[in-house]
């Protein structure tokens, strides 16, 4: 993938990190197992940016590469190709000792609890605090508080053999969280938990992400309950990230698209797919966004703010939330039909020409709708309304 495409991909509204503080940045990450004839590539040119305090859910079928990507982000294996920085440390060429230092700032939750059977719940959690030593009293208090928070206050002295599967998993979660990691990497953390325990754990993740430390959480899961807590959903297939959506931005764009007359009636799935192709832009009051009669290569949907539309120098209408304008002249064979100027500070969701063409290719409903618009325009002999 070219660098131009990379920047375009990372610029899409739903792909961009939630804030300016990026804790995971993966660019063009490839990975292969084996060498020579046994070489099998499992990751292909993956790009991902995750901001501090995001809860990211990774989904995908078995073998899609999500675990491999997770191990790279967790500094559990060395990089082969591409760039990867985690917690502001460049892991692309990091030595083992450098990876160890990064791992100390990460809380790992694996599918298997991996607790030492000879140690009590408290002692297993204390294995983590030993990496961030404080006074014994403080370490014990931290461990007990975390176990208490996870509903194990009365089990701190029990050994794993005296705990249920769910309780053991919660001890493992306590071990991962007790040092207040900047990043949590979890593989199916709620798989062995009942609904109540899952709720406690997910609430805790959300609380940590929203709290003063703004912990970033990256979860691999198939648990639908987790999706409600996620800021971003990353879907992988065949070693590639095929969907990377910042959910609240995606929701905002979908709402805006749903309010667009020309897209009325399209399914949420179609609108969601369309949203993944859009970038976000802001404009200040007075900015001219498009000019009548010029060749255009973008469609705009208003996310917030108000703009004024003019034709032949005369005010025609105001553009507000959910309304569209702009034109892809090379596709529709018409110039931009109206000049649009921002009246206020605006957030605009933008569909550029290439992304428009991809969206057409990706979704038959959208393509049909566009064909319908083109057909209607031909019959009416005037420019089609913006999609």
């Amino acid at each position: 993938m070219s660098s131009a495409t990379i920047s375009t991909t990372l610029d899409r509204a739903v792909n961009r990190p939630a804030g300016t503080d990026v804790v995971i940045r993966a660019v063009g990450v490839n990975y292969a197992y084996g060498t020579g004839q046994t070489r099998t590539q499992v990751l292909f040119d993956n790009h991902l940016e995750v901001g501090r305090g995001e809860v990211v859910v990774m989904t995908g079928p078995s073998g899609s590469g999500k675990s491999t990507l997770l191990t790279l982000i967790g500094a559990l294996r060395s990089m082969q190709e591409g760039h990867l920085s985690v917690l502001r440390e460049d892991l692309s060429k990091a030595q083992e000792w450098e990876r160890v230092e990064v791992r100390k700032r990460i809380g790992f939750i694996f599918q298997q609890h991996n607790l030492f059977t000879s140690l009590s719940a408290l002692e297993n959690v204390r294995m983590a605090t030993a990496l961030k030593p404080a006074s014994v009293k403080d370490m014990n208090a931290r461990c007990e508080a975390m176990l208490e928070r996870l509903g194990l206050g009365d089990r701190v002295r029990n050994r794993p053999s005296e705990l249920s599967g769910g309780q053991k998993q919660r001890v493992a979660i306590a071990r991962a969280l007790v040092n207040g990691p900047a990043l949590i990497l979890a593989d199916e953390p709620t798989a062995s938990l009942d609904a109540e325990s899952s709720g406690i754990v997910l609430d805790l993740f959300r609380e940590l992400a929203d709290g003063p430390d703004k912990t970033t959480v990256l979860l691999v899961t198939h648990d639908q309950r987790v999706l409600d807590k996620a800021d971003r959903i990353v879907h992988m297939i065949g070693g590639r990230i095929v969907t990377n959506s910042l959910t609240r931005v995606a929701v905002r764009i979908v709402r805006a698209l749903a309010a667009t007359d020309s897209l009325a009636g399209l399914s949420e799935a179609t609108l969601s797919r369309l949203a993944t192709h859009m970038t976000a832009e802001t404009r200040g009051a007075g900015d001219e966004i498009v000019r009548e009669g010029e060749e255009g290569d973008r469609f705009y949907t208003v996310g917030s703010g108000v703009a004024d539309a003019f034709q032949d120098g005369r005010f025609v209408e105001e553009k507000c939330f959910g309304e569209s304008f702009g034109m892809i002249s090379s596709y529709f064979k018409v110039p931009i039909p109206e000049t649009v100027k921002a009246r206020t500070e605006m957030e605009l969701y933008v569909l550029a020409k290439d992304d428009f063409l991809r969206a057409l290719a990706d979704d038959q409903s959208f393509e049909a709708r566009i064909r319908g618009l083109l057909a209607g325009a031909a019959q009416g002999d005037h420019a089609p309304a913006s999609p």
Binding site: G74, L76, R103, Q111, N114, T117, S118, R126, M127, A130
Partner: protein, 412 residues
Amino acid sequence: MLGMRNPPLAWRNVAHGGRRSIAAISGVAFSLVMVLLQLGFLQAVRITAANNFEVLDFDVLLTSTRFEQFYAPGFMPMERLRQALETATVESASPLYATFALWRCPPNPLDDPPGDSAPPPSALARWLAGPNSPRPLQRRQLFAMGFDLDRPPFLPPILDAIEANEAGLRVPGHVLLNALSHPDFGWWARDRFHDWEMEKTAVKVVGGFEMLRGFAADSTVLCAADDFVRILGYGSRETVNLGLLKVKPGTVDATVAALRERLPDDVLATSREETIAREVDHWVNQTSTGKLFAIGVAVAMAVAAVVVYQVLSNDVREHLPEYATLRAMGYSTWRLAGVLVLQATLYMLFSFAVAVAVAAAVYRATEALAGIPMAMTPANLALTFALALAVGLVSGALTVGRLRSGDLADLF
């Protein structure tokens, strides 16, 4: 335990290790018992080598230049003792006659012994029967020592035994038998057996004394010098085996130097300390004894290392995901190696405690059955402890490779 800064993982792995810990501790303890036994045997060699001279009352020893060790002393003329007496610092000079002699051992039982043609009992039967093992009349070699009854060159308690039986020893053919002799030599039958013979000369056991048995002789007999030269065919008292000199206090080194200057080259003068050191060196270093026991120690420690390595290795293999999780969390391999080394050391410490207790019992049994003086010296304990710790360290360190075999990436 949670008063510690780090959870006591090594200790808990040992304490909750169940059969694995028992296997490790018992296996290593067995090896350490073997080490302690080898060192005990070596110590017994030292003790018995030194003891032969330690029971004698002398400051300086005159020996033939052909002297090898106590049981092969060579010969020298009595004249050398007289010459030695001319040295101002020499206060007295006593000859000691010493050589091996055939001893007629009483049968067992005395009243109904097995015939000469009867098949000998098996080694196991003899072992189990101990001193009560049936045996026919037989001749065995013991070590005989003759001395001047007017100046017995022995220290108490042997000197006390000699003085208590002095009158009897003055009668020709009367001897004292070591009460700590091997049972075959018949101390147990001293009051009922009357057909004692030494080198085909009828003798009578008139009493006993206590002297440690050694690896070279299972029994010792003391007799008057005249009897000795008569029975052992020395011809006269002018040919002696050892010359035991008493010197003025604080003049040992000067006397040794003076004697080496004055006496002919066929004799050698050595101080008491030098004599004992030379004797110990002979038995420990000049013979294969020391090497045999050293090899025994090395093999036993190798077995201990293999046992600990196997147990630790299996332990790590079974807990590989747990150790891998710790490595993923940020534990360095070397930090975890410390846990393994500590665990190995704990196995060694427990094994050492068990081994010392078991070895103490085995020492007593060996003393009772073989009559060998077994002493668990602080030096041997320290050596065994040090070896155990070293093997623990090495085994723990070797297990680090196993620790590395866990792929962190497999955790997800």
